[in-house]
């Protein structure tokens, strides 16, 4: 692996970022016009760092994850830059991207049942995966590396020669993760990796993901709709709304002092054992072929001001990172009239995600 070595104790030395997205845009052509699923997103992930990407269905979070590795339907528009270890991936050919997926960037999806070949032993899956990228790898090396990867996932070495159907759903997801990690990618993108799993199995997978950095020095982009999952597995969190990042920052701070009203609303609507009252966000995320003007969250925001309907908010620094919300300034250029509260239109209770 290239890049900076970890110093003792798992604390990363000052690192160059493994991934940098700069004004990334992804849009789909539809009969109604272009749907801007990702609309000017910038963020970076440091080496060995985990970033949680959270948002409601249709906010563009999965498109962003796929857009990074070029796994988008033909005809999808992509603009901006995605720099992986300094190299811009936007505009690479499919075969160049294919070479990168696996050893460079690993991908974990939901529904592990559908991603293993039922006719192939687990050992065969590993041999095929490793040989696809390292044709010269020897049998012994493949076995040792595969067993090490499986061991990290808690799959006993005695089961190396078994078939996928002999494993439970949670174990299959762990095998999938081992198949990704055996190539030692610098970045893993996990899209709702625990959605189809039970609570206890979900917790086991989250434990593994939270330990990725310590055990494999791998950076993680974890995509989910559940803030509880991010709190347990991620260093930083990015909150996505209608194709844009509303707030991004260090998880410990964002969860305690969420700066964006959308982050606050998402946190309040997360049901956990500590929840004392059911809260939800009124309204629905906007249609991305025709998003509202100004701040895209203003029709659902309880703090919306006149300003929010007219002008797009500017990224402002917070203690945790940055936020795009007029409540946080800049004060220059905002008149008293701009800051008048906005009368919200009545939102029908069923108008929801």
């Amino acid at each position: 692996m290239t890049g900076v070595e970890l110093v003792e104790g798992g604390v990363p030395a000052p690192h160059p970022d493994v991934l940098e997205c700069d004004e990334l845009r992804v849009w789909y052509g539809t009969p109604r016009g272009p749907v801007r699923a990702v609309d000017g997103v910038s963020f970076s992930i440091g080496r060995g760092e985990s970033l949680g990407l959270v948002g409601e269905s249709g906010c563009g979070k999965s498109t962003l994850g796929r857009g990074i590795v070029g796994l988008l339907p033909a005809g999808t528009g992509v603009d901006g830059e995605v720099r992986f270890e300094g190299r811009n991936l936007v505009g690479l050919t499919q075969s160049e991207l294919r070479e990168l997926r696996g050893p460079g960037i690993g991908l974990i999806f939901q529904e592990p049942m559908t991603r293993l070949n039922p006719l192939m032993r687990i050992s065969h899956h590993f041999a095929e995966t490793i040989r696809a990228h390292e044709p010269s790898a020897g049998k012994k090396e493949i076995r040792t590396r595969s067993l090490e990867a499986l061991r990290g996932m808690g799959i006993p070495p005695t089961r190396f020669e078994q078939y996928p159907h002999e494993f439970s759903g949670g174990m299959r997801q762990r095998i999938m993760i081992a198949l990704v990690l055996v190539l030692k990618p610098a970045l893993v993108i996990a899209d709702e990796p625990t959605t189809a799993l039970d609570v206890l199995v979900e917790a086991q997978i989250l434990e593994i993901l939270a330990d990725l950095r310590r055990n494999f020095d791998t950076a993680l982009l974890l995509i989910t709709h559940n803030l509880g999952i991010i709190a347990e597995a991620c260093d930083r969190v990015a909150v996505m709304y209608a194709g844009r990042i509303a707030e991004i920052g260090e998880a410990r701070t964002v969860f305690v002092e969420p700066a964006h009203p959308y982050t606050q609303a998402l946190l309040a609507s997360t049901i956990s054992l500590r929840t004392t009252e059911l809260r939800f966000i009124p309204g629905a995320p906007p249609d991305l072929s025709d998003p509202p003007p100004g701040c895209r969250f203003h029709p659902r925001c309880e703090h919306a001001m006149q300003q929010c309907r007219r002008n797009e908010p500017i990224d402002m620094a917070t203690t945790a990172g940055r936020v795009a919300c007029w409540l946080h300034g800049p004060d220059i250029g905002q008149s008293a009239a701009d800051r008048e509260p906005l009368q919200r239109e009545e939102i029908a209770s069923a108008d929801e995600a």
């Binding site: 206890l200 509880g228 997360t270 049901i271 209770s349």
Partner: protein, 437 residues
Amino acid sequence: MPTKPDVAADQSAAPPADALIEVADLKVHFALRGGILGRLAGRSAGAVKAVDGVSFALGRGEVLGLVGESGSGKTTLSRALLGLVPATSGTIRYDGRDITNLSEHAMRPLRSKMQMVFQDPHAALNPSMDIATAVAHPLRIHGVAKDRAEIDRRVRAALDRVGLSPPDQYLTKYPGDLSGGQKQRAVLARAIMLGPELLVADEPVSMLDMSVRAKILDLMMELRRDLGLTYVYITHDLATAKFFCDTIAIMYLGRIVEIGPAEQIYAAPQHPYTKALLAAIPEPDPTRGVPRNLPRGEIPDAVTPPLGCSFHPRCPVAFDRCGWEGRDLRILLEQHWLELPVEQFTAERAVIGELEGLDRPATDVLLPAATGHTGAEVAALLQEVRDVHPDDPFWLGVAETETLSEGLRVRFHGGTDPALYVTPVEHVRAACLLYGS
């Protein structure tokens, strides 16, 4: 398992004022087909005991939460309540009447009183049927509406009731035009169409976004209040059940392992499995970190469940009488090998012969030596495993070992299958030997 009179006596502690559903020692077993040779020879391939002796009573207007992982039998139990799968034995009473294995003809009129809401609202609605037709379907099937005008009026009322208002906006829409939450509302509208008394909701919010779950739960509570509904709420998520349920029944491998008033279960869970489920729920608090020391492994195969208490292989506080057996020895060895470098595992694995002999329920097993190795070597290896994991509850279950030339014979203490015992918490019973004699 408790017999029927026991159940009646137990429940008198907290009698439902007016029981709508009473289930006594219900079993639902599915026979396995086995191979063709076995079938020709008339051998039975065994049965999956999906529901294996479940008893409870649910009062009118109450909400029962059936909580468990995939494979715990919670969905099969709910389907049996509605007569969608035949009961193998036991009884189901609805409003005092025995409805166990009623014929389809006799069941049909009752179906208007008992409705079901499924997990995936997308799969529950016909994609080529508009919302008005889908929601009106029960009226047509049961032939209760006089004419089009009445159907139209009732459909609008139901849509309005579930928050799909104004109804005009939704009548001509197709499921594909609606969001997940809206589809689940349409499913609820269809379910309340005939004025049911009982609603069985199978994971109604688990496919929905976090931000929408609260709205649908809110709506279900409103319907309960306004229409006097009784609910069976099936979920694997104790966090949503907390808001909704009066009584919680935790299921594991076809049995209820803990049952009691929701408040008590959350405040003082008694069964180790309930404690684990509660600890595993993600909390939006980054200072808490990932829960550690979760039960290892997953819910075992229901065809040959573990001996004794079926939770014992995953239980952190299991002791000698919990049902230790040969299969646990295999799990222990595999767990041990997980922690070794590949070369050391390969060396140790070579000492022991085939492990498949351990894969059946037995309390007296032989851990075979591989060809060219002796029983003494196997014994030494197991001692080494014990030295590495001295605190594993497994060792409490080992009664004696005997070194033979062909391997190591391990005999376990026999286990006890726990019944639902009374716990120190009032009205809460748990199937755990910690509370049994």
